[in-house]
Amino acid sequence: MLKCSLDKINSVFEEIAKTAKLYIPADDKDGSAVYKQWENGIEWSSSLNTVRSPKDFFLPQMENLMEFKTEGKNIEVIDNRCETEDFVIFGVRACDVKSFEVLDRVFLSEPVDSYYASRREKGVIVSTACSKPSETCFCKTFGISPEEPEGDVTTWKTEDEIFFKANTSKGEALLEKLSAYTEECDETVVTEQKEKISAIMAKLPLKDLKTDAFGGGKTEEFFNNPVWEELSGSCLGCGTCTFVCPTCQCYDIKDFNTGKGVIRFRCWDSCMYSEFTKMAHGNNRITQKERFRQRFMHKLVYYPENNDGMFSCVGCGRCLSKCPISMNIVKVMKKIGDVDA
């Protein structure tokens, strides 16, 4: 366990930024936190709850996969990938760290997504224990520990100090670089901090939300539940939930004709969209009800079925706060699972 005074945090950032791109949650003009690349003058936000999730760093909303060029009747294929640079994401919440595992299970299992894998390899995740959760938070529901988040490095922040613990070799290497600013310490303060966090977690309005009703093998139980009709009735189909979600990983691959060639790019897609997985015969999810159902069934039933019972929701609460009409996974779980919370 290492510690460092918060007064020196900017020096720590400077040190990290010397060898890698550093991203930290910083305050945006409207007061909400967003990930910004650190440079002198960018302050670490007191909030860890960023509007967009750190999923962007590994699965950017849009990326060019390759290019084609035609010359006369010939076609030339260009791999325009450039070497991913080292980068560090600092101050990741426990839930968001967990989301990378959800993504890994999709993109790193065979066939491995090399675009994703190279970023995953180059990125170092520094998590921070979440001492100020929002009322929308329910990570505990999914067995996540905000007291001691995962990641290459785990940090705890108190009033005046920050504590570091490396979990991986990548993390150890990073802490090695910071040795000039840190000193060894025992775990007393951190243990205290963990207890504080546990106490706050116990006060959260959604603390009693349970997943017992869900999991693999429940497809038939829920699929034809008439409640989907009612729940989806208010859904606008906008896709905001999927775009702020740290675990939503659907994407579309499209071609863009620049006039000088074709760029094949990948961009996020959303199961909320009417064009989602459209095939030659049309669409197999024809109304918003099916599309709505898909999203939640995927998070709560289909994904666990294929991933050893792991849910693909981490309880980060983003969709709760950003849905234009406040329809969200919590309301769905309560209604569908008839879970009393």
Binding site: F256, T258, G259, K260, I263
Partner: protein
């Protein structure tokens, strides 16, 4: 006189009945204007969708000019009146977003105004050249 290396790309939408004929007349009279101007024939200036204007900018145009019959002379009686409202609104919006207002223009050129067509194009090209490359409404993917 400042020498500007940048050769602008100008897309001109011309209505079939007046302005396209005006451009033909400019040709008949051998009135020169820069080759940077490329004309697209539309039946009426009211066929020009704001999306076409933006599309041209996206693909690398530095200026877009729409030419139609003089108000009151529209072959379809009222098409250019709609164009006038649509483009007034669109150009004002582009200006609001900080896009240089000289990059867009709406001009009335009759079939008899070959000289006006050439003069308008000369003037427009000169103004757009002075602005340089279109940076504010560009799509980098379409640039070389």
């Amino acid at each position: 006189m400042q020498v500007n290396e940048h050769k602008p790309l100008i897309v001109a939408f011309c209505c079939n009945w007046c302005s396209y004929a005006g451009a033909d007349l400019a040709g008949n009279n051998r009135l020169n204007y820069p080759a940077d101007v490329k004309i697209i024939r539309v039946p009426c200036s009211c066929r020009v969708n704001p999306m076409f204007v933006l599309r041209a900018f996206q693909r690398g145009a530095d200026g877009v000019i729409i030419c139609g019959c003089h108000p009151g002379d529209c072959h379809y009686t009222s098409g250019n009146y709609y164009t006038r409202r649509r483009m007034a609104a669109l150009f004002s919006m582009l200006d609001f977003l900080g896009i240089e207002r000289e990059r867009t223009r709406l001009e009335w050129v009759s079939a008899a105004e070959g000289a006006k067509f050439a003069a308008t194009m000369n003037d427009f090209v000169e103004k757009v050249t002075a602005l340089g490359e279109n940076k504010r409404l560009e799509d980098l993917r379409c640039k070389r």
